[in-house]
C-alpha cells in the first residue's frame, strides 16, 4: 500500500511539475488592419499578454482594448467608445490550445507549424477560432506568429450605414509574440 501511495504522489507531482513548463509574455504585439474604401485603419497593441503551457499545449491571450494605438486620436476614441465599447468590455481573450504542441522541439532551433484552436471572446461575444500559425524556437524562446481575418459582425460590432464604406467588414489580425520561459 505504501508503495502505491508513493507512486500516486510521484505521478501527481510529475503532472504538476510538467504543468510548470510555461512560456509567457506581457509585451506581445497585435496589429489590426482594415482596408476600407476611403480609409485604411491600422492599430497596434504592444501590451499583449500571453501564456503557453508547453506541457499541455494550453495557450491563452489577454488584450486590453484601450491599449490599441491608432494613427488618429479620433479613430481611437471611436474604436473604444462606439465599436468595441471598452468601458463595458475592457479586454479580449483567447483561451485554447496548440493541438500539435508535441511536434515542437524546444531543444532544436527552427520553425514549426502551430495549429491553434479555442475560443475568442471580444465585445462580450465568444466564438470558436481555429487558425494556423508558426512557432520559431530560438535560443530558448518561442516566437509565435499568425495572421488571420475576423468578421466584425461575428462579435456584434456594428458599423453604421453612413460609414459602412469607410470601414471594412473584415479585419486582418497579425499576432507577433516572443514567449520567454516563465520563472516559477
Amino acid at each position: 500500500m505504501s508503495k502505491s501511495c508513493i507512486i500516486f504522489l510521484l505521478v501527481f507531482m510529475t503532472a504538476f511539475s510538467a504543468g510548470a513548463q510555461k512560456y509567457i509574455t506581457k509585451t506581445g504585439h497585435i496589429k489590426f488592419y482594415s482596408d476600407g474604401q476611403l480609409e485604411k485603419i491600422e492599430a497596434h497593441n504592444r501590451q499583449v499578454n500571453s501564456v503557453l503551457d508547453f506541457s499541455t499545449g494550453g495557450f491563452v491571450f489577454k488584450v486590453l482594448m484601450k491599449s490599441f494605438e491608432f494613427e488618429k486620436a479620433l479613430m481611437q476614441e471611436h474604436f473604444n467608445e462606439n465599436y468595441v465599447e471598452s468601458d463595458k468590455y475592457p479586454a479580449a481573450t483567447f483561451v485554447g490550445k496548440v493541438t500539435n504542441i508535441k511536434d515542437v522541439n524546444l531543444l532544436k532551433d527552427g520553425m514549426y507549424d502551430a495549429n491553434v484552436e479555442g475560443k475568442m471572446t471580444m465585445h462580450g461575444v465568444t466564438k470558436d477560432l481555429t487558425e494556423k500559425g508558426t512557432f520559431e524556437v530560438k535560443q530558448g524562446k518561442i516566437i509565435g506568429k499568425a495572421k488571420f481575418n475576423i468578421v466584425v459582425a461575428d462579435y456584434k460590432i456594428t458599423i453604421p450605414g453612413n460609414v459602412g464604406n469607410n470601414i471594412s467588414k473584415t479585419i486582418e489580425i497579425t499576432v507577433d509574440i516572443t514567449l520567454d520561459k516563465a520563472n516559477m
Binding site: 504543468g19 501564456v51 499541455t56 460609414v163
Partner: protein, 301 residues
C-alpha cells in the same frame, strides 16, 4: 496488478486535473501578474462645446479642430424674414491640442468682427483603476476684441475699450456611458460697458449635460444663470440652449435652438437678448472637423 491499476487511475486523474486547470489557470496567471492600470474617461462630450458654451473637452494632442458656428435670425421674425433664415451670424474657429492637457484656439465672429483667442487647461482628469478621480476639471480663459468702426463719437476710441475677457472653471463627470454633466462658474470682465450702472465684472453659473440616445447621437442642453444686478442697461436673459450631437466619423454636427445670438463666451453669458417664451430663439449649428496634424509615434513593424 493492483498497483498498476492505481497507477493508471492516478495518472489519468492527474492529467484530467492538470488539463482542466490548464487553460483557465493560464488566464488567471495573466490576471495575477497584471498591474492595475489607470483607466481615463474618454469622450465625456463629443465636442469642445456642449452646445454653444465650452465643454471640458480639448482637441486631442496634435489635432486641429476646425469649428464652424452658425446662428440664423430669430424664429419669431415671421415669414417676411423666413423665420430667421435671412440672417446669419458666423464664427470660424480653430482649436489645437498642444498636449493632452492644453488646448489653444482662435476665432473670428461676424458679430462686430470680433476676434477671440483662448486657452483651456485640464487640471484634473476623471479616471478609475489604479488612480481614482471622480471628475474632470478644466480652466478656460479667452480674450475678445471687436474690430468694427468706432461708432460712439462721445467717447474716445481706446483699443482697451474693445477688449473683454472670460474665465471659466468647468467640472464635469461622465456617469456610465451615456450621461455626462458639467457645472461651469464663469467670470467676465469688460473693459468698457454700455452704462455706468452696468458692472465691469460679471459672475454667472452654468450647468450643462448630454444624454446619449444611440452610439452616435446625443441630446445636449445648457443653461447659464446671470446673477441679478450686473447687467442693467440692457435686458439680458439667462441663456438656454438645447441641441443634438450627431457624430459621423471625422465630423461632429451639433444642431441646436438657443436664445443666445452670441457665439463666444462674453455675449452668451452676459448679453443673451432672446426670450424663449417669446419665440425669440435662434436655430443654429456647429460643424466640428478634426484634422490630425502630428501623428502619434506608433512604431511600425
Amino acid at each position: 496488478m493492483k498497483n498498476n491499476i492505481l497507477f493508471l487511475l492516478a495518472f489519468a486523474g492527474a492529467m484530467c486535473v492538470s488539463t482542466a486547470r490548464g487553460q483557465d489557470d493560464l488566464l488567471s496567471m495573466i490576471e495575477k501578474g497584471e498591474k492595475p492600470t489607470v483607466d481615463y474617461t474618454t469622450a465625456t462630450f463629443k465636442s469642445t462645446h456642449i452646445v454653444i458654451g465650452q465643454s471640458i473637452e480639448t482637441a486631442p494632442a496634435g489635432n486641429l479642430n476646425f469649428l464652424i458656428t452658425h446662428h440664423f435670425g430669430a424664429l419669431n421674425t415671421g415669414y417676411e424674414n423666413l423665420y430667421g433664415l435671412k440672417q446669419a451670424s458666423i464664427r470660424l474657429g480653430v482649436e489645437y491640442g498642444v498636449t493632452r492637457w492644453l488646448g489653444i484656439g482662435v476665432g473670428i465672429n461676424t458679430d462686430q468682427n470680433t476676434w477671440d483667442g483662448s486657452a483651456k487647461v485640464k487640471l484634473l482628469r476623471q479616471c478609475k483603476g489604479a488612480k481614482n478621480m471622480p471628475l474632470t476639471l478644466d480652466i478656460y480663459g479667452n480674450t475678445a476684441i471687436y474690430t468694427t468702426k468706432w461708432t460712439d463719437p462721445s467717447r474716445k476710441n481706446y483699443f482697451s475699450s474693445r477688449v473683454t475677457y472670460a474665465l471659466q472653471l468647468m467640472a464635469a463627470r461622465k456617469f456610465g456611458n451615456s450621461l455626462s454633466l458639467q457645472i461651469t462658474p464663469s467670470y467676465v470682465h469688460k473693459n468698457m460697458v454700455h452704462d455706468s450702472k452696468d458692472k465691469n465684472d460679471i459672475f454667472t453659473l452654468g450647468a450643462g449635460g448630454r444624454i446619449k440616445i444611440s452610439q452616435r447621437v446625443s441630446v445636449n442642453a445648457e443653461y447659464n444663470y446671470l446673477f441679478k444686478g450686473q447687467v442693467v442697461s440692457t435686458k439680458a436673459y439667462n441663456s438656454f440652449s438645447l441641441g443634438v450631437d450627431i457624430e459621423t466619423g471625422g465630423h461632429v454636427f451639433q444642431i441646436f435652438l438657443t436664445n443666445s445670438y452670441g457665439e463666444y463666451e462674453q455675449p452668451i453669458l452676459t448679453d443673451t437678448r432672446g426670450k424663449w417664451s417669446n419665440g425669440d430663439i435662434f436655430l443654429g449649428f456647429n460643424i466640428n472637423r478634426m484634422f490630425t496634424i502630428v501623428k502619434p509615434r506608433v512604431p511600425k513593424d
